[in-house]
């Protein structure tokens, strides 16, 4: 059965949360991981929508460290008050 955007977003959120502080994940990593997890219950389009939902809801943010990643919102080391 096809997964909903919400289900995919939740799975991605957990991946980002579990990786926090250890590994930065790119949007493509999330897509590939989710496709491995759910097989043909998901496609690229739904993964794109799920990432959009995570970002638009503010649960995750894009970050840039040489390349672009999806992470939990946090205060970065370089920030000044």
């Amino acid at each position: 059965m096809a997964k909903s955007v919400e289900e995919v977003a939740e799975a991605m959120f957990n991946m980002v949360k579990d990786a926090a502080g250890q590994k930065k994940l790119k949007p493509m990593d999330l897509t590939k991981n989710v496709m491995q997890l759910f097989g043909d219950e998901v496609d690229k389009q739904i993964c794109k929508e799920a990432i959009k939902q995570l970002i638009n809801s503010g649960r995750c943010v894009y970050t840039y460290f040489g390349g672009s990643y999806v992470e939990l919102p946090h205060r970065e080391g370089a920030a000044n008050d």
């Binding site: 990432i51 946090h74 970065e76 370089a78």
Partner: protein, 404 residues
């Protein structure tokens, strides 16, 4: 007022000479902006100590977008509190960089209210660059710019703001409408522009003719350069007029033709168009006598980049000639296939040109369903990635052929 400015003996050197000086401009802005005053202070200290005092921020941005804001913090915030935060915003420029003076004033007003007031018109990406603001001012700036129909541009691993030469708006050489294509691609790929999902950056640059005023062949992952496929239009009377007025057509035009396909007998200019490589030299030298042909379109090239991970690369031919007409289906279909492949197989921070070099152009072409053509080869025997498989397939049995 000027007494308040920090002492900057080293920076002052950069005010000398007849040319514009960013130091002059920052000093002018510093009369009103404490941010600019501290910027002068830190810059002078950096010049003196030969140390850069900027820290990179990787997380600042506006809600929903993954690009367009480049985080910067001073490493000396106690000494220079005005530039404790000094983030850059990239703003998507109008195609061809045409503005009304009202639009420019509005942008400047917004930026004086929310940032340092310093701008760079334009950055090498093509965007309007707004230099220096704080995290708290990012969203308000974005909101005010949106009200006057300006949006943030690209940065990070996304589609960068497409840019083009002024093309048909001003230039008689334009072989297609660069501004229309740029606008169309920008609107069509909004998600890709704001939501970084690529292995690394991807740039489109549109030039109307092979003069390539936006240096697309050296900077764009996809270069779309205007050209023609019929004959150069020649007005023989005007050629003779150039000669009469003292132009040495043999040495200035004919002998500089890179493909040696021109001949001038003192009365008639002959061009062997089948050898012409569309370099524009003769047309640039005799604009009144020569112009591009009438059957116009563009060459699509792929893979240029400046040296970052690997060395610099020029883009190379993907389609020798296609017509450029809305809705630009062929370009978009090809782009979608390239992005699919590169997103799937590309390594982190690998530009599409480097990706092609790694997997081989032959494999790349096969994966995106493009037939190899002789124009992809710079010189015979130089890039031996074209294989004539059909020679071998003749002997193979049918089944195997169908599988491959």
């Amino acid at each position: 007022m000027a007494d308040n400015l920090p002492q900057t003996p080293l920076l002052n050197e950069l005010e000398k000479g007849a040319w514009p000086s960013f130091v002059k401009e920052i000093k002018m802005a510093a009369k009103r902006s404490p941010m600019c005053r501290d910027l002068l202070g830190q810059l002078e200290q950096s010049y003196r100590e030969k140390i850069g005092y900027w820290k990179h921020g990787g997380i600042v941005g506006v809600m929903g977008y993954g690009g367009g804001v480049i985080g910067r913090y001073s490493a000396l915030p106690d000494k220079y509190p005005g530039i404790s935060h000094f983030h850059t915003m990239r703003i998507n420029q109008p195609a061809g960089w045409f503005y009304t003076s009202k639009a420019l004033r509005s942008i400047c007003d917004i930026w004086e209210k929310h940032g340092s007031g310093l701008t760079n018109m334009h950055g090498s990406t093509g965007d309007i660059i707004l230099l220096g603001t704080t995290t708290a001012h990012l969203e308000p700036t974005f909101a005010e710019l949106a009200k006057i129909d300006f949006d943030i541009g690209g940065s990070g691993s996304d589609l960068r703001t497409p840019s083009c030469c002024c093309g048909m708006a001003r230039c008689e050489w334009a072989c297609y409408d660069t501004m229309a294509l740029t606008y169309d691609l920008t609107m069509h790929y909004q998600d890709e522009l704001h939501r970084p999902a690529f292995p690394y950056k991807f740039k489109f640059k549109m030039s109307g003719c092979p003069n390539d005023c936006v240096a697309s062949i050296a900077r764009a992952d996809m270069s779309i350069i205007g050209t023609w496929r019929d004959d150069i239009q020649v007005d023989q009377e005007a050629v003779r007029e150039y000669a009469k007025r003292g132009m040495d057509i043999t040495s200035d035009v004919v002998n500089n033709c890179p493909s040696k396909c021109m001949d001038w007998d003192g009365k008639e200019l002959h061009i062997e168009n089948s050898f012409c490589v569309r370099c524009m030299h003769c047309i640039n030298v005799m604009p009144k006598a020569l112009r591009p042909g009438k059957d116009r379109g563009a060459t699509i090239l792929i893979g240029a980049k400046a040296p970052i991970i690997e060395g610099a690369m020029l883009s190379s031919v993907l389609f020798p000639f296609i017509k450029i007409e809305p809705p630009y289906t062929q370009i978009k279909n090809t782009v979608d296939k390239i992005w699919d492949l590169w997103c799937e197989e590309g390594k982190n921070r690998e530009r599409v040109g480097e990706f092609i070099q790694r997997v081989g152009l032959g494999n790349f072409l096969e994966a995106i369903d493009v037939e190899p053509v002789p124009e992809m080869v710079a010189h015979p025997r130089e890039n031996p990635y074209v294989f004539y498989e059909e020679y071998f397939e003749e002997g193979d049995d049918e089944e195997e052929e169908e599988e491959s």
